[in-house]
Symmetry: C2
Subunit: 211 residues, 2 copies
């Protein structure tokens, strides 16, 4: 099974973490650490020249935020598996990282065996979470799920059309309704979600998975 060891890079602004991870992973034969960086910019220029199979990425960085960096990495090098390595234990943060192309999410309290196992799983093309992250993901906050207004069929329909950039006259024509009717539905949507305008409406609807 020893063809070529997988290349691994680490981005973390704490040198101590960098040191620790290196020590943990040096005696793993199947993994070769090819670079350690304390800034996103430095890593990106490295990535342009070198192949990286796995990236361990801290989310909080001095120059850029990890979520955007993750997306940039995947856009430049889609085959690089990005594993977020973070203290952030909010469910929404984990979801955002995954949405932006991360192959996994590891909490920093991870054990060394678990770390290696997760890297292996990522290398084999699967999403992976540390135990702690799995537990967080299984516990959706009730507030996220409750307090979601109940929409009628028509309201959902119109919500989607609004989100697609359609204006009231557009929607009225498409659904063969009076523009005044569409306005009423729009107003009810804004009222039900307790927001001020469509911008906030679309944001909340999108975050709650209604679009």
């Amino acid at each position: 099974m020893l063809i070529n060891p997988a290349t691994l890079a680490i981005v973390d602004d704490h040198p101590i973490v960098l040191e620790g991870l290196q020590k943990l992973l040096t005696n793993v034969k199947s993994i070769q650490i090819t670079g350690c960086f304390t800034s996103g910019l430095a890593f990106m220029s490295f990535l342009k020249e070198n192949k990286v199979d796995v990236l361990l990425l801290d989310i909080t960085l001095p120059d850029a935020n990890g979520i955007e960096l993750c997306r940039e990495v995947k856009a430049l090098s889609p085959d690089t598996h990005v594993l977020a390595l973070s203290n952030h234990s909010e469910r929404s943060m984990i979801l955002q990282m995954i949405q932006n192309g991360a192959t996994g999410y590891l909490l920093k309290n991870i054990s060394s065996e678990e770390l290696v196992a997760c890297i292996q799983e990522a290398l084999s093309g699967m999403i992976t979470f540390s135990k702690g992250a799995k537990e967080i993901m299984a516990r959706p906050s009730i507030s996220e799920l409750k307090g979601i207004p109940q929409l009628t069929k028509r309201e959902k329909e119109i919500l989607h059309l609004i989100a697609d950039g359609k204006t009231t006259p557009d929607i009225a024509q498409q659904l063969n309704l009076s523009p005044l009717t569409v306005e009423t539905h729009r107003k009810n949507l804004i009222q039900k979600f307790q927001v001020r305008n469509v911008a906030a409406l679309i944001k909340i609807a999108s975050q709650q998975g209604l679009l």
Copy 2:
């Protein structure tokens, strides 16, 4: 380890699937099937009277869509672990289910051993995926990640404020800018994302994890 077997319910509009799952799970001592339903409505009324530890939920249903049903289930009974069981293999679909409170996602080509393992993992309070689902999750579509316009610091700032429901005058005051300047940024945002109005802008920005 045999205190009380976990209660499990199944919602799927194909009776054959219902039969098959029942057969697969009857000889598992730690799991007790307490109900099988072919419609979301029927299950919801059952859930009001009975405790359900795990729900195997098909996404495509005649009366409601599984994503919304999942949210309703979690709102009514937060301790019920919902495992999506589906043929849908789109990454976005999986993410939506998770965002709406699902504890896991299983593709229907799952093996019986894997199914039991996933149910056990869900019962122990962790998110879980079938092998196939893990692979899909690890492969973000490139189109999702590329083609994202590059925004300046100011534009990001204003994008967030717009998403929060702030109007141009609001934003101008908050950032000590001329409303006309804010209008320009707003216009540039709409142009960069190639959309018609803020509604579409916020939708796309939200889906790309920029909010």
